[in-house]
């Protein structure tokens, strides 16, 4: 059997083919196969793994273009899915910056998570001393999204991210925003919804690729729809952006659930910018938003750093 692996050594990209006996790997998982190659054939091959039990999210890679969680995928499954093919192409997750071979950079994704303020701000009636109370129904509403292991498989498949990542975040970021906004213990869902809106919520093209590949069967696409509904319900529905948003929303949620091609093109090309700016201006006028919140909103130490970041942000925005 052949494995063609996409490699990157920090300077150049290339492909390398590894030949292994089927009998050596057929009882293994995909991660097991990668380990087999590294430990027997090529010690320079790099990838990440930690738990080998499908819970830490470290081992997401692509096989023939589709994302898989390496330790959660048996080779027999792959043989079946690809009709006993004897060659597989293994690549790093798409829509991430590759550090080396199959290892990708998670730092930007973590900073995106920071933006939606994933930490719960509990209702005033709850306290650190006594904890919270939540009934089964309320718990059931959020527990699915808590399965997210931050493996990045959804982001790898996301068409919107591939088209233009400058005004969008990884699908799981919205999932996490939804899980906390939708939590009955949460004081104010808008703490998380607002930054989601400001960071691309309406730019999802609803292709559902993220949902198709999530190893935990989470649908970020649905979570995005949920966040949108919440945003509209909570009054983020006036101004230029939200007007577009509204028609977009009607299109998706109440209509066919799919965008037609023309609107899709329109949205990815131009409307998104107007939408974001529009919403942001509305919010700022209403005094609801500190413009610096786009950086994550916490206190920033050091004036110099602050100025520097604002400059950097301006520069980045201009591009």
């Amino acid at each position: 059997m052949k494995f063609i692996i996409d490699r990157f050594d920090g300077k150049k990209n290339y492909q390398q083919t590894y030949t292994v006996e089927k009998k050596d790997i057929e009882a293994l998982t995909l991660l097991g196969t990668l380990l087999f190659i590294k430990q027997h054939q090529d010690i320079t091959l790099n990838f990440t793994a930690s738990c080998r039990m499908a819970i830490c999210g470290a081992c997401g890679v692509r096989v023939n273009g589709h994302s898989y969680l390496g330790c959660d995928t048996k080779m027999t499954e792959l043989f079946e899915a690809y009709k006993d093919a004897d060659t597989f192409r293994i690549s790093p997750l798409a829509n991430y910056t590759v550090i080396s071979d199959l290892a990708v950079d998670w730092e930007p994704a973590i900073e995106n998570l920071r933006k939606i303020k994933p930490g719960l701000v509990a209702k005033d009636k709850f306290s650190e001393k006594e904890g919270c109370v939540q009934n089964q129904e309320e718990y059931d509403r959020i527990v699915k999204q808590w399965d997210c292991v931050l493996c990045g498989c959804c982001a790898s498949e996301c068409n919107k991210l591939s088209a233009d990542r400058s005004d969008y975040m990884e699908p799981f970021v919205y999932t996490q925003a939804w899980r906390v906004a939708n939590d009955s213990r949460s004081k104010d869902p808008m703490i998380h919804v607002k930054p989601a809106v400001l960071n691309g919520l309406w730019n999802c093209v609803h292709c559902h690729e993220c949902s198709n590949r999530c190893p935990k069967h989470i649908s970020s696409a649905d979570d995005i729809a949920g966040l949108r509904a919440l945003a509209m319900k909570k009054g983020l529905n006036s101004g230029v952006g939200p007007a577009h948003a509204k028609s977009f929303y009607t299109d998706l949620v109440e209509d066919s659930g799919r965008l037609n091609e023309i609107r899709l093109a329109l949205r990815t090309e131009g409307v998104s910018t107007a939408l974001r700016a529009g919403t942001a201006i509305t919010l700022m006028r209403a005094g609801k938003m500190n413009p610096l919140e786009i950086f994550g909103g916490h206190t920033i130490e050091g004036h110099k750093d602050l100025v520097k970041m604002i400059e950097a942000a301006k520069a980045a925005n201009k591009e």
Binding site: I43, R52, S100, G131, W146, G302, E319
Partner: protein, 616 residues
């Protein structure tokens, strides 16, 4: 300016004030100086007020606590992986802590079970305080967003865990650790904690008795650099990978913290106390957690007997881990298991719980059954065998009040630390709250210390950095060496430790292991890694980790050989009895400059719980 610049710049400028480096080694300055935003400080080394190594529950809680204690301090979490890839994520069963007193449970009972479970090697004052803090920690976790499973009243739900006299193991389905980690990450992000991921701590530097910082390797670039810190918290997790493929823990549990502490002249306490979990999957050691037995799962031998009735009739499968693990191994040894040699096993059966209950309360466990044994727990019992699971031993910490090591400025927390909560055997559910509780205390105290302290001179730190820089060159520079040398040695070390220092130990086995260790060390020193690329050289990372495992193995062996008694997880077939007259004390291992190890002892603190025979 690219978008990447914005993010990187933001992350790094706000967290570490990286100056131009004093250490002039190729490449190093580039990595840090490129992101340098502020004027160099007096010594020119990168600095940070509170530096936390490790991003499991202990590290993340320490970081938040430090930020809350003093928001003016820079707090950075360093981790060799992405924050959520830690061992904490893998915990399933639950987290102990008394929050419901209606059925007669109390902090004292929790402490008592902990002391008894730990076979009295627990410092009793510590256990008592720990139990109190554990209760508070559960509410706090709930408050910061942890979605615990709920009882009918909407309160945190709980289940039985082995060795507990009351039901006090709080849980979030069977993904408690995963959910806990993500809750703690969210809270850390909320509190402005910054991360340096893919950074490997190689060593820490103690000068004039004070901790002055650590040597970090940026795995992404290969740059090795010193970082000075006013205080450092080691939250690097355990060292159970000394049994390489017979453990439930992740690949990263290589005892880096304990090894660095040893090299820096600190104390590795109770290193021989390694816990074996009774139920790993037969192939690969991955865990079928206590939750399975907590929910009512039973163990069966090849005669179809529920054999635990022979060993602990009143507790059966819910007896403490060490006892269940030994019972299983005994069954296998006496021919009542299935299979042979390393492939031998007994069965764990949950089928009688019914599909609905399994799907609701044990979904993760079922999944593991599918993945590793290719079978559905709903339909069939699963093949299991004991697996190394937890390190009770760790970096010696003087008291639970501060989690400080004897070296001012250095703190330790979680599984990496040993403040003697778990003694010779940890109870199920006690380590998540250990990590949560001790992490927080370490963070608070590290912040308090940092607010008052200054930076060390960093001279020794410099020297260490230079040493590591040339080490990288020496090990990888020639490009020579065989692919499999290191991996083969790692497996051999694991197997040798398992057979000679595993569940059953004897003098002769331990002495034989000492010879093996000497041979392994010599082979290790001669290994060269055929990868010259500094970028993400994971083979070199693994090489360094293997060195740490060797060191941890040697320390554990020293303790295991000297402790001529059986206590908790440390079971000597040649000294079957617990010997309180001689060994009611902690083993304290240190290493001198020449690499020679020394053993000392420290008395256990006895309190309100009477020392008695451990019977169930």
């Amino acid at each position: 300016m690219s978008e990447q610049f914005t993010r990187r710049e933001f992350l790094q400028s706000a967290c570490i004030t990286m100056g131009a480096l004093a250490v002039s080694t190729t490449g190093v300055e580039k990595a840090f100086a490129a992101s340098s935003t502020s004027t160099p400080n007096s010594s020119g080394m990168p600095t940070c007020d509170v530096l936390i190594i490790g991003s499991g529950a202990a590290g993340l809680r320490a970081a938040v606590a430090a930020r809350k204690k003093n928001p003016n301090l820079s707090v950075v979490v360093v981790s060799k992986v992405m924050p959520t890839r830690s061992a904490t994520t893998m915990a399933e069963g639950g987290i102990n802590g008394v929050i419901d007193f209606s059925e007669g449970d109390s902090f004292e009972l929790h402490a008592k079970d902990t002391v008894k479970g730990g076979d009295f090697l627990v410092d009793q004052d510590t256990a008592m305080k720990f139990a109190t803090y554990a209760g508070a920690a559960i509410h706090e976790l709930d408050y910061i967003g942890m979605p615990f499973s709920r009882d009918s009243k909407g309160n945190v739900d709980k289940r039985y865990a082995g060795g507990a006299s009351k039901i006090r193991c709080n849980f979030a389905e069977d993904k408690t650790g995963h959910i806990l980690t993500h809750t703690c990450l969210d809270d850390a992000l909320k509190n402005g904690v910054k991360f340096l991921m893919d950074h490997h701590m190689l060593d820490l530097s103690i000068e004039n008795g004070h901790c002055e910082g650590v040597v970090l390797r940026n795995i992404r670039t290969g740059d090795i650099a010193p970082v000075r810190a006013k205080s450092v918290v080691l939250a690097t997790g355990g060292y159970t990978r000394v049994f390489w493929n017979r453990t439930s823990t992740p690949y990263i549990a290589t005892g880096d913290g304990a090894a660095a502490a040893l090299r820096a002249g600190l104390i590795f306490k109770d290193p021989e106390m390694l816990q074996f979990h009774p139920t790993g999957v037969c192939h690969g050691g991955t865990l079928i957690t206590e939750a399975a037995r907590g929910e009512g799962g039973i163990l069966l031998n090849n005669l179809g007997e529920r054999f635990m009735k022979r060993y602990v009739p009143n507790k059966m499968e819910l007896a403490p881990r060490d006892i269940v693990a030994r019972s299983i191994e005994t069954e296998i040894r006496e021919g009542r298991g299935y299979g042979h040699d390393m492939e031998a096993y007994v069965l764990l059966d949950v089928t009688h719980l019914g599909k609905e209950k399994i799907m609701k309360n044990l979904p993760q466990i079922r999944h593991i059954g599918m993945l590793f044994e290719n079978m559905d727990l709903v339909e069939k019992p699963i093949a299991i065998r004991p697996t190394a699971h937890y390190s009770m031993g760790g970096i010696h910490v003087t008291s639970l009040d501060t989690m400080a090591t004897p070296a001012p400025g250095l703190f330790a927390a979680g599984e990496a630390a040993c403040v003697s909560i778990h003694g010779a055997n940890r109870l199920g559910g006690n380590s998540l709250c250990d990590a949560t509780v001790t992490g927080k205390i370490a963070g608070i105290n590290a912040a308090e210390y940092a607010a008052k302290a200054g930076f060390g001179a960093g001279k020794r730190l410099n020297d260490l950095t230079l040493k590591w820089t040339s080490h990288f060159k020496e090990i990888t520079g020639s490009g020579k060496g065989n692919v499999n040398d290191m991996y083969a040695l790692r497996e051999e070390l694991g197997a040798a430790n398992w057979y000679n220092m595993g569940i059953f130990r004897t003098e002769s086995k331990l002495l034989a292991l000492a010879d093996k260790h000497a041979e392994f060390q010599a082979r290790y020193d001669a290994i060269r890694i055929p990868n010259t690329n500094p970028v993400f050289n994971t083979a070199y990372t693994e090489y360094v980790e293997l060195g740490n495992l060797l060191l941890a193995s040697r320390a554990a062996l020293m303790g295991a050989t000297a402790r001529k008694e059986s206590r908790g997880s440390h079971f000597r077939e040649d000294y079957l009895k617990r010997d309180d007259a001689n060994f009611l004390k902690h083993s304290m291992v240190t290493m001198d400059e020449k690499g020679q190890m020394h053993l000392d002892w420290k008395d256990v603190v006895v309190g309100q719980f009477k020392i008695e025979e451990r019977k169930y």
